[in-house]
């Protein structure tokens, strides 16, 4: 047993909250973050001033956030505004809670990319390859998918299954931004952005905020709702091959296999036990890479694995039941972790996976992470 396995079922998510998702030019990161925090406090019934740990992500300044919500914590961390941070943040908070660095941690994520017209490429994010016109995370994913096509015969119609399934879920989620059903043909006909990817392979850009409140198993008993336990975690970076941002020549397969071994080993479950998957989906191809890396199918077989609605509710592996980044909201993994909690609580109404007992979050990125949630 690895030393970190002793964290199994020690730390719980006790409160979750979010704002509506959309375009909110009249407020800012702090206003959205405060609203999500208030909703999470209400969700778990904690006395607000008991929160003594604060983690902020994509919020400009931790101290200003603390000032606004009236907290003087004894543990504070600020994480950069990168998509891969949600899993990292939850794991860091779990370790801090277990070590007694704080008793109740509030994790606040806010994004105002929509009202600030963020582009995720070009002058906003200068890089080594700009002189050749190569920019944007989407182009890196297009580069990977093109290679996956060539190596394994994966088709864009198979890729479309991802976007179609998640849009179907968004249509069942009253909070989701995108509400129009789409078909595989719609995906094929969408405007190309960076070929082979098209518009419907790209995540949304919208405003919103998410808050997660975590504590230890013992303290969780005193709060309003049944806790959701962190039963497994896994982590592996890919920095030494990082000269091309958001890209890996082997689709982060080795890293995700390592992440899977850690997370499943700790939780004592395997892919066949997973009732629902919450898969980081900044671009649709990464879902295929994640399925292969975690071992839901062999490398190269994700295209056929997803065919026929595998990822839809009622399918073999309901995935991103809130609609994900592609169709619910671009909350950079945070909303997916909230959805995992709500699935286990049975709060998802029309999009509820019956009797969801094992829900897994994963993100295949240069900092790959997975978290396995179970009922407390």
């Amino acid at each position: 047993m690895n030393e970190f396995h002793k964290l199994k079922d020690r730390i719980a998510i006790v409160g979750v909250g979010n704002t509506p998702y959309g375009n909110f030019p009249d407020t800012d990161d702090y206003g959205l973050g405060a609203r999500a925090f208030r909703n999470a406090v209400e969700d778990c019934g904690i006395e607000k001033d008991k929160v003594d740990g604060l983690l902020v992500c994509r919020v400009p300044h931790y101290a200003r956030m603390g000032e606004i919500i009236g907290l003087n914590p004894r543990w504070t961390i600020q994480m950069p505004p990168h998509g891969r941070m949600s899993g990292m943040a939850i794991i860091e908070a779990a370790a801090a809670l277990d070590a007694g660095l704080c008793d109740y941690a509030a994790l606040i994520y806010a994004n105002i990319g929509r009202s600030r017209r963020v582009n995720y490429g070009g002058e906003e994010s200068p890089g080594v390859w700009d002189p050749w016109g190569f920019t944007s995370p989407g182009a890196a994913h297009a580069m990977m998918f093109q290679r996956h096509r060539a190596l394994y015969g994966t088709t864009t119609r198979q890729l479309a299954e991802v976007s179609v399934a998640f849009r179907h879920h968004a249509c069942l989620n009253p909070a989701a931004v995108m509400k129009q059903p789409i078909t595989i043909d719609d995906h094929e006909a969408a405007r190309p952005i960076t070929e082979p990817l098209r518009l419907l392979d790209y995540c949304l850009i919208n405003d919103g905020a998410v808050c997660i409140i975590m504590t230890t198993k013992e303290r969780a008993r005193d709060l309003k709702k049944k806790p959701v336990m962190i039963s497994g975690i896994g982590a592996r970076e890919a920095f030494t091959t990082g000269s091309i941002g958001n890209f890996d020549l082997n689709f982060w397969h080795d890293e995700m296999q390592d992440v899977a071994a850690q997370a499943y080993g700790m939780a004592g479950v395997g892919p066949s036990d997973v009732d629902a998957l919450m898969c980081y989906d900044n671009f649709s191809p990464t879902v295929l890479f994640s399925l292969e890396g975690l071992g839901f199918c062999k490398q190269g077989e994700a295209g056929s694995f997803v065919e026929g609605g595998t990822l839809k509710l009622g399918g073999k592996l309901p995935t991103n039941t809130d609609g994900g980044h592609l169709s619910n909201s671009y909350m950079q993994g945070w909303a997916l972790n909230v959805e995992a909690v709500r699935q286990i609580r049975g709060e998802c109404e029309d999009r509820q996976v019956p009797n969801a007992q094992v829900v897994q979050y994963c993100g295949a990125t240069p900092c790959s992470r997975s978290i396995i949630y179970t009922p407390g």
Partner: protein, 137 residues
């Protein structure tokens, strides 16, 4: 005729200067460690393998394999708008390092991943030459 808008240029610093000097002389180069002979790109202030600061830019064959490619239909810079749709390739050099560049002289329908490629040099102005790639025979 419209005035061309300037495209993004490399930010030359002490680490990468050798690469761009060589490119101007129509040479493709990668950084090589004087201590352990590791070759890598982009340049680094120390060797990522052994941490030595003895790094220099050495010419490579310019030959490699096409590992992947994409075609941009969106201009993230206004200066690339006139080029749309344009091709970007990922090349694995014979010597090991990966490079992102542009693929020239080929139509998308004729591109095969795994094909051999070789460097060509496109002079932008007196200061800047960009190494690009074409499919080799």
């Amino acid at each position: 005729m419209q005035t061309a808008i300037a495209k993004p240029r490399p930010k030359i610093d002490n680490v990468n200067r050798g690469f761009w000097d060589n490119a101007r002389a129509q040479k493709l180069s990668v950084q090589k460690c004087g201590a352990c002979e590791d070759v890598h790109f982009p340049g680094s202030p120390v060797c990522p393998r052994c941490l030595s600061e003895k790094q220099s830019w050495v010419e490579v064959s310019g030959r490699g394999k096409l590992l992947s490619w994409v075609r941009f239909h969106r201009a993230y810079w206004d200066s690339f708008r006139a080029d749309l749709p344009y091709l970007v390739c990922l090349v694995g050099l014979e010597e090991g390092p990966l490079l992102v560049s542009n693929l020239v002289g080929v139509e998308p329908d004729d591109i095969v991943i795994g094909a051999g490629v070789e460097a060509v040099f496109e002079k932008v102005d007196d200061e800047l030459t960009l190494p690009k790639f074409r499919i080799s025979g």
